[in-house]
Symmetry: C2
Subunit: 226 residues, 2 copies
């Protein structure tokens, strides 16, 4: 294995939670660069993101030997290494299925474009929407999925359809040889092993918030009754 | 501490990642109930959500002694215990700031209502939108935030504004005594310790997907060159 590049080795070692944190470091480093920051320490990164500095150093060590004694990390250098490890040193073409309000928000979400995600194809089952254009993109019927996805080279799919149709639409994307799906429907999807799935459960995020808020309430009540 | 209820004790012990998994168990159990399931094992739950059955048992043990020998868990019983632990055995009133496409999608997102989250107040800085109604809710100007939030009893805030204004708007919500914020803007927010924050970074979710898809590509290339 000695002939392999360092990046391939570190990618293989990168765990899913560690990759999640790398995304957060990336976002913070980009903000730091915007503010003109020329160096950053593991303590600063940890404090900004609520993880220990030991965890930060462990995560960043998977990228290679990037710490500079007496300096810390150089943000621009870290950004390059993180983007390579996450597979963001290239552009990803994305197909979006279900052109409702969420899809319109996603189409204009600048965070996607900034990170190299480009929406190249739109699909909707509603005949009234098929043929319309949004931001220069034509809305296609789902039965054109295979040909449009092959033509546009979309590798990732955004699923913004209601729960009831999510599984069927996801299977259509799989048949059209999409490699990964970001699912916004509050539904559990079953996909073949070869197609990757990330689900954004918005209610679960709100539940996390309610849980944290309730914890604060319980703690202060516990303090008051002592 | 003997006089405390079991739920208070378990809430205090519940870690954030464990709470996140409880949300996922909850979603899966609700789907299971919908399909008429009367029992479920830690192995089944683990397989459905991609965690080990040991982790499932550990997470569910924080809720009390709910496993039945020879049966496993009873979904309805688990749902009740999880909802109580997460603070979902009540309704939460929510204020939504920034009435664009994302907000319209969130307003109609059934997952929120199903879990007891009710959007009760809308705010937008655009004078052309102030005074309009969506789904029976009037859009208010941000300078009415304190009075409207006090009147409606909103405790949680959904932030669906552009990155540039996110920090200012969040500070307005804090001043209006909101207890927690779910942030959709791709921006790092600084809030007082007493106000809880959960950020939904949609680009980070797409980055996770790209990372997973890229990993598959690397693995199959590595296999091919052996």
């Amino acid at each position: 294995m000695r002939g392999d590049s360092a990046s391939t080795i570190s990618e293989a070692r990168l765990s899913r939670p560690s990759a999640g944190r790398l995304s957060l470091y990336l976002r913070h480093l980009e903000a730091l660069i915007g503010e003109g920051g020329a160096k950053v320490s593991s303590v600063q990164l940890g404090q900004a993101l609520g993880v220990s500095d030991a965890q930060v150093r462990k995560d960043l060590a998977t990228l290679g030997n990037l710490g500079h004694p007496g300096v810390g990390y150089r943000p621009q250098e870290l950004i390059g290494a993180i983007r390579q490890a996450l597979g963001l040193n290239r552009e990803w073409s994305v197909a979006l299925v279900g052109v409702g309000n969420l899809a319109r928000a996603l189409l204009r979400y600048r965070g996607f474009q900034q990170q190299g995600f480009r929406i190249v194809a739109l699909f909707d089952a509603d005949p009234a929407k098929v043929g319309q254009c949004i931001d220069g993109l034509e809305i296609h019927s789902p039965d054109q999925m295979s040909s449009v996805i092959a033509r546009t080279g979309a590798e990732l799919g955004l699923l913004a359809v209601p729960s009831e149709t999510a599984q069927t639409v996801a299977e259509g994307l799989v048949a059209a040889r999409i490699r990964g799906i970001l699912n916004f429907a509050p539904a559990v999807l079953r996909l073949p092993e070869s197609v990757k799935l990330v689900s954004v459960d918005l209610a679960a995020q709100l539940e996390q918030l309610a849980f944290l808020v309730q914890m604060v309430g319980n703690e202060s009540r516990a303090l008051n009754t002592r």
